[in-house]
């Protein structure tokens, strides 16, 4: 498995022409400040920024009632990072014909009733999904200072599972970095900078209000179905400084049309998923991955009202979900 994961981390680094230092890597990445400002028992994190008033305002901003879909299907063949993630499997576990027979033979059914039921095996980080705050750790530490020793049982997270996440209704801001750069998609390994975000926002004439949900459009999402394994193991994405700058805007959640939100491989290939560490652990900001933002970008809908309602899988580290943008 060693080879495969290394390849995930390094291969596109080569492709992008970056130079890997052979000197010992020092773990001097600055993961940013803690923002555990909602009390020691808090499980909502930046979700606290959404209030009845903010929700009412977000809904009131809807003008046409038209919906843009932001989710891919959850389907066989969905990209996953092998071997640290696991594949998605769906099979038809009950079929109309067999169930009609079963209900007739075993329950005396006289009304020709049959049904289909599937069986799904998955991690929740499949297709378009949101990460729970308890998904990631820095050493033994989780969001809000929770310790790894108390964080989980064998059937899930004890405190920061996705079942604790709020419903999300907020202003959605699209930052189309691909358009700003004048490309169809950013290259794998390209780390989006603060200047990129600021430049794109300026070009768009958009600002980020407090409590927003931000989607960064890289164009990489077109590979989600076309080249799922390539898509999964590399991609453009935000760098650590860009994540800090977005966090400083007091956003609720940040997503992108790529596998990990952050650039893969990372700016320092030996610092793995630092943006996850900063946003989830340090800031309590939710991460959304595999966002299907192409239609929003095509329509230049830079400010919308976004709704996402995480399924309450108890103790789960995330959930696939349907995201919509209303305008």
């Amino acid at each position: 498995m060693k080879t495969k994961l290394r390849s995930f981390l390094l291969s596109s680094t080569m492709a992008a022409g970056l130079v890997l230092s052979s000197q010992a890597v020092t773990a001097d990445v600055d993961l940013g400040e803690n923002n555990w400002s909602w009390g020691k028992d808090d499980v909502l994190g930046a979700g606290n920024l959404m209030t009845a008033n903010s929700i009412k305002a977000a809904l009131a901003a809807v003008e046409s009632g038209k919906i843009i879909e932001l989710s891919h299907d959850v389907a066989v063949g969905a990209p996953y990072i092998n071997p640290i993630q696991t594949p998605y499997v769906i099979t038809l576990a009950r079929t109309s014909k067999n169930m009609e027979k079963f209900l007739r033979d075993n329950a005396g059914a006289t009304n020709e009733v049959g049904f289909y039921l599937e069986r799904i095996e998955m991690t929740t980080h499949v297709s378009t999904h949101i990460d729970a705050l308890g998904h990631v750790t820095i050493a033994a530490e989780l969001y809000n200072g929770l310790d790894r020793e108390d964080a989980a049982s064998d059937i899930g997270l004890n405190h920061n599972g996705i079942d604790k996440s709020p419903p999300f209704i907020a202003t959605g801001i699209l930052i189309d970095v691909a358009a700003y750069k004048g490309v169809d998609n950013l290259e794998p390994g390209y780390a989006i900078t603060v200047a990129d975000l600021q430049g794109a926002l300026k070009k768009q004439g958009t600002t980020i209000p407090k409590g927003a949900i931000v989607f960064v459009h890289t164009g990489w999402g077109k590979n989600f179905t076309a080249k799922p394994q390539h898509y999964a193991h590399t991609g453009p994405g935000i760098g650590i400084e860009a994540s800090k700058w977005l966090a400083s805007k007091s956003v609720v959640a940040i997503g992108a049309d790529n596998m990990a939100l952050e650039v893969t491989p990372g700016e320092d290939p030996k610092v793995i998923f630092p943006v996850h560490q900063h946003l989830l652990v340090k800031q309590g900001i939710y991460i959304i991955e595999n966002v299907k933002s192409d239609e929003l970008a095509a329509q230049k809908l830079y400010q919308t009202t976004v709704i996402m309602l995480p399924t309450k899988f108890k103790g789960a580290t995330g959930t696939p979900l349907r995201i919509i943008a209303l305008h």
Copy 2:
């Protein structure tokens, strides 16, 4: 398995004092009229009743921005009908400590990064969920006249899977039949009548607008976590005539705080799931089960704005989901 399923169908029949005829049951239940009025390629069914205008209006009706949650957790031990359904399993497939070691040893990670990931095995009809239109059959027929021969492959439904369902934003109407009857909960096996629905609506001062999502409150939902297996295998619910009357109001979806929306065992115990056949196959109206409607009932919030966003599991016969009511 024969014993167990019979018990599911008949046990509470006994408890309710109903008499099972020993004579041959004739399948003369009237499953109602087809309402396949949206064209031969339609996959939305009653979802067509939601338009940009209706959505805009539903959102504009939100006054406070406050949210009432209508979903149970999806958790180990969730009720299921054995053996026709299958159990829910979640385990922690990746753990912070092991993954920190893995990323350090295999990818040279220097930033003490770890993470948790779960593995879930499920049918989508677990906990609070919505049924796809293709879930149920009458003989070989599915919604919109689709034939069983073309309906599904081994990895799911070909046409009427939950991935085809629309986002739901509509007026939500709660019909509190338990309160109308003056009981904490209706008894298992009690079939809610048209008169019950009309009486409760009149008492509440509520009407059902076209395109609404209707929730019937039976009080049975308190057993969802307290007595999951008992809850799963019997319960009060709507009868076939009540389902036809609700369908005649041009609603989009109907849910209840029980396992099957409809009464279990059925009015005629040998006619299994006729309400499913009427609503899904004949009417294209979505069914929602295991709704957690207690808080809505306690607050007497009979009219709200309901949002539910089915996860797009490709080809799946439903999906667990988060339902919210705004007022």
Copy 3:
């Protein structure tokens, strides 16, 4: 889950008329001596007792070539200890008709070929199975002094998985304690003593040779299919002293026709699975559970040649398996 597990441990204690002391239980159970005599890197444990010579002798002892089956089916509804174990699920994931169509449409197949494939979700401790040496711990310690910190990754045991177990070909000794006691089956909660084993062996005229596989027949196995949940949560079985006495005979593996080999609930209900701790951790002796020994007992075949070939699930804590006795 608390209630359910307590019930598993205590309910039949009541039924058996045992008295539970209310005083604080002291952990003064004697789990016996270590027998880590095969070197610090050993992973075979008592499997070392089987040699080419002993195998040749065991095979040479077969007189008729007739086979007695000692395994139950692995099937839906198989008993499991809820919630510490997990349920067995099998569904037909690929079906002849759909696959025939798929191969015709996607690969141009002209030979009307179809096939069935199932999907199985399980723990390996389902139905008739063997425990790997690494299945159980005493505090942080595993067989041969292995420490919990190094014992496992997220995909299984690192050292003592069932993939490391040898093929088993050895003299099989049946000890029919039910017959010795003159009962159809021993009562749940009955702890088989050393005297019981000695008495039964004497009555049978059997001795236990070094390197044998021992099966203890309790009669409880008749409930495996008849009352699976009752069967799983209680039962007669060997007590801790009986396990030590069997271990002193230098046996390779010990099995019984019950869920846990050992009596459930335990002799001291607050000392859970001490026989597992003694045999697996201290002695490196394999445990076999849910043995179907009724036919062997009925035929009074007290000494046979037993073969079992554990499937090499890498890192797994056991495996369901087919056991045969030849005579």
Copy 4:
């Protein structure tokens, strides 16, 4: 999925220099004669050739008691044919530390007992395995004339599942075609002929007794762990005439060190798995795949006593298993 499967079927065809006719392929492959000679209710097929006498003789032939292992591990990353098969997943569902805590907190355990349990999701056709007679169809027909309509329910095969297979104890014959051809391994797409088998047997000085289990060594098995996906989607193997010739020898089972026993892609790439159809459906002869025959070949052990004991997964289409050869 179309592309991938085609690639599986055709890619190595190109590599092997074969020419694909563009004209319409006629399904004129001769799948051979039926050999349903054991009665209309038979479920054993060629398993009937094993008797107490033949078993006794096979055991008596063991001279040294030494064992050669013929099985690969069942492990994450095991080859599978995508998308017609499904991936293997194993995760550690219960861990020593968490279970020790659970048993202490919920059952008052005082003896520091913990344990590990895994969760496995699989098809049974993973790693070294045997096919049940009901695995494959010719149009609607299964082994012994069973019709597809009655063959299976949603939880497995009704008649010809692997739970019906006998224990296998028989003379094992290795045919080392790679050695006969003087190569390390045969090339993918190479169809082993009758002449190859005859030549190899002659060179070895071996004959095939009635009731034997035959293993064909191609050398391809070295790619099982080294290049699992390449291994899965192509390979050398026996052709249809070779399978008929082996069947004419009244063998019980035939295996090889490749994914499908038969050559992939097939001799006529549009005739998919004809050897499966001939052996399983027409002849009732069991197929064994992914045999690890390298050690047997290296030691030139052409005749041994082979034991394999299929796990009785009820209704399953096969089972992974441990195969041993004794000499």
